[in-house]
Amino acid sequence: MLELRKDIFADERDDNLKEIGKPTQRQDMIGHVTGTTAYFDDHKLAGMLHLKVLRSPHHHARIRRIDTSEAERSGGVRRIIRGADVPRNLNTLLSLLNFGKDDEPSLATDKVRYKGEPIVAIVANTEREAFEALTKVRVDYEQLTPVFDVEEALKPGAPVVNETYPKNTFEYHGKYDHQRLRFGDVEQAFASADHVLEQRYQMSPIEHAPTETNGSIAAPEANNRFVVYTCAQGLFFSLDTTAKILDVPSNKLHFIGGTVGGGFGGKVDSLTEPLVTLAAMLTGRPVRYVLGREDEMQFGSPRGAERIYVKDAVMRDGRVTARQVRSYFDSGAYTRLSSYAVIKCAAHIPGPYTIPNVHADIYCVYTNRVPATAMRGFGVTAVDFAIECQMDKLAHLIGMDPMEFRILNAYRDGDMKAHRREAKNTALIECVQVAAEKAKWSIRDEYKRMSSRAGGGGARAAIPHTKLDSGLQAPARPAPQRTSYDRPLPPPVAPPPPAPPPAAPPANVQHGAARFSSVFGTRRR
């Protein structure tokens, strides 16, 4: 089923390798197929307690009162944890990267912002006793109007979902409610185009549906440390998040994981680690907190929905001359990682094509639903759906074969991309040619002869005059001088690339949001 096309780009590779390129069996295969591999939930510890959370039945409500007195007397209950027991009960995941404001409590105290939001955690001897005690917690709610549609959430007078972001949008660069991409002048291109096509696309939310649901087990270790068995997709990401929320030094925590039963992005959020570790600290006992399948499907964060508007200008000869994208990421009630996906999405537009005029506004919008998170293709999958459906419609509109239409517009080595970096190491044209060949989809000879390595650069490498929203013009820049895009054969063991000097920060960047830095705190100011 899998054919390796070693004939293509052969001059760029050294195939004289011993272990690389071999279909070696997995290191962990025997353990997997014999059922002896240990996952986090295989660490059943003596005296282990079980944690379950009470979830909001409402999409949006003020919490007037929480009464746990009856639950405390329920059989087998060891400890009830409320928001006030969490040392730092407000966090945002990307604060580890110095990006965004803390906006999400571990346990809701004043308000619930989505159906399923955790309010109270109960630690009991058995899962059954924990579930029974949950039914005895009394919460007095004042229901509030929810908002579910991203465009409704942006209208004046819409309910405020998350008070940290009162306009229902994440804040970029300390001043904008969206991330911009500006390259050339789309309005001028629309005015002179043979056809203009504007369409709306909707990507649905998706459940990751991993075989192993989210969960973790925490236990006191010797010398006042705590061990946490976890299925986190980022071990230190989860450890550092837990250390922050619990306000403990990171070396008090010992995280063990690395063997996970599927993630697809759904195990990046540290859904269980902070609470289960807190429970182990408060009880001095091992504690297990695992989401059941229903919790995982309903309240484990999904891939967020995206609504995408695409407007393109196309000429009768097949050239796409402008692409304008306006997209809304449905982040749900809290930020989690959607703010990051917005920038990744902006970088991706207009797709793998060389289009001289590009304009994008990408929003991260809050609604009263389960917070969205990363999933396979984060920031890109949905916009690829929109762009590629749009490309099919444009080809149909001008009566061109869709394969040839892709090849004609494909980016090539040396072309300038809309985020103002030169395209290198491109291979879209070759992929289209080979896929056509495999599907016996005939394309004309001139399209079979085209190459990612020829015909790019030159005028296609220039940065056009760009009209900015402020009314100012960003000046055009000519294509940089170059000699060749072909490169010599790499050495058998490629040395690590020399670290390029960090890009000089643009003069008008504000302090505050949209500043990534390493988790080691080397903040760039």
């Binding site: 760029e12 590779r13 390798l17 272990e19 690389i20 390129g21 071999k22 279909p23 070696t24 962990d28 579910f148 911009r180 709306r200 696309y201 909707q202 649905s204 549906a209 986190a232 980022g234 071990l235 990401f237 994981g257 063997t259 993630g263 499907m297 902006a346 970088a347 991706h348 793998p352 639903r369 396979r376 293709g377 890109v380 999958t381 690829d384 759906f385 762009i387 590629e388 459906c389 869709p402 892709r406 985020h419 290198k424 190491n425 491109t426 879209l428 992929c431 289209v432 080979v434 056509a436 495999k438 989809w441 402020s470 960003a474 790499p490 960090p502 890009a503 990534f516 390493s518 988790v519």
Partner: protein, 339 residues
């Protein structure tokens, strides 16, 4: 009546966290018998993280893959790594392992040189557990004997440290100027579907694809990623969502009976070609197949539905209900040009 149609889509995908700033570290060390441990905190989600780093370490060290074991993830022993997401594992962790293994190899060759009384630069590995003088394969020493000599006689640690970091890029607020990624994977996929104009059901008939991945470090693991990922794409296109009437939050699923995904009976042949254009900064040129394999499937299926019956479904997933409503509005199926 059933109608067949073909649609295609082509995509690229950035490798690693957007804007960079996402380091990975690795430690490589030998035990006294010349067996190597790679210590990481990277996560194996089933994608093969342990195995691909094991092959990279073995290739770089010049030892058989059986002589390398990857230990991950324990925060007390494994050095920092951002995590397994953003198609960063092979590229970021793989590079860190290559750097660490190269350093360890350097010590191993120095130790061997001392035993064989030659210059280290005159030595090479055979990938079978021996180090020999270039051009004189009989003058050799096993990696085991080198490790014993290094440990007990020379007092050398055959070990290496590695880190890989793509420096962080700023984003211009006005133009969006940025350096999002250092390399991109590519793909094109053709989907053939059959649409039943009475029931609105879409059935997959066949997929043909070409994926460009830099380097297929392990073709079997690449194959399982591409086959499985493409099926996730089919599932996204035709079946899945926890909110079928989004944005209305109704009919949320509670288990696999209610959350519809394609089963074994819905599988179709998928013929895959893999292209390798090495990334300038990838380990042996590798990029990463993890995420992008699903992406071309969604639009290719939507475009194939149009080709079969002439309706455009722009809201995912393409359920029988949406197809039937669109067909009714159009006044029946209007098959497009056969491909």
């Amino acid at each position: 009546m059933k109608h067949r149609g073909k649609g295609m889509a082509s995509i690229n995908y950035p490798i690693g966290m957007n804007l960079g700033g996402d380091p990975s570290q690795a430690l490589v060390h030998s035990n006294p018998s010349g067996k190597f441990t790679v210590a990481l905190s990277a996560i194996d989600l089933g994608q093969g993280m342990k195995s691909v780093t094991r092959q990279i370490a073995a290739e770089t060290l010049g030892v058989p893959v059986e002589d390398v074991y990857v230990d991950t993830a324990d925060s007390d022993t494994g050095p920092h790594d951002m995590g397994s997401f953003a198609s960063r594992g092979t590229h970021r962790v793989g590079n860190a392992v290559a750097v660490a293994a190269r350093e360890a190899r350097g010590v191993m060759m120095e130790a061997a040189a001392e035993e064989l009384e030659v210059n280290a630069s005159d030595l090479d590995t055979d990938g079978l557990g021996n180090i020999h003088v270039k051009g004189a394969p009989h003058r050799k020493i096993s990696t085991k004997d080198v490790a014993i000599a290094a440990q007990f006689k020379q007092g050398k640690t055959i070990a290496g440290r590695g880190i890989f970091l793509v420096p962080l890029s700023e984003v211009d607020p006005e133009t969006g100027e940025m350096s999002p990624a250092t390399c991109y994977a590519h793909a094109c996929l053709v989907a053939e579907v059959e649409v039943d104009d009475e029931t609105g059901e879409v059935t997959m008939v066949r997929m043909d694809s070409a994926y460009e991945l830099g380097r297929a470090l392990n073709p079997r693991m690449v194959e399982q990623q591409l086959v499985g990922g493409a099926w996730m794409g089919v599932s996204h296109a035709l079946y899945e969502t926890p909110e079928p009437y989004y944005p209305e939050p109704i009919h949320g699923p509670r288990d696999y009976n209610e959350y519809v995904m394609p089963g074994p009976g819905d599988i179709c042949p998928h013929n895959i070609a893999v292209l390798e254009r090495p990334a300038l900064d990838g380990p042996f040129g590798a990029k990463g197949p993890g995420e992008m394999c699903a992406n071309p499937v969604l639009p290719a299926v939507a475009n194939a539905v149009f080709n079969a019956v002439g309706v455009r479904i722009d809201d995912l997933p393409i359920t029988p209900e949406k197809v039937l409503r669109a067909l009714r509005q159009q006044g029946g199926a209007k098959p497009q040009q056969r491909r």
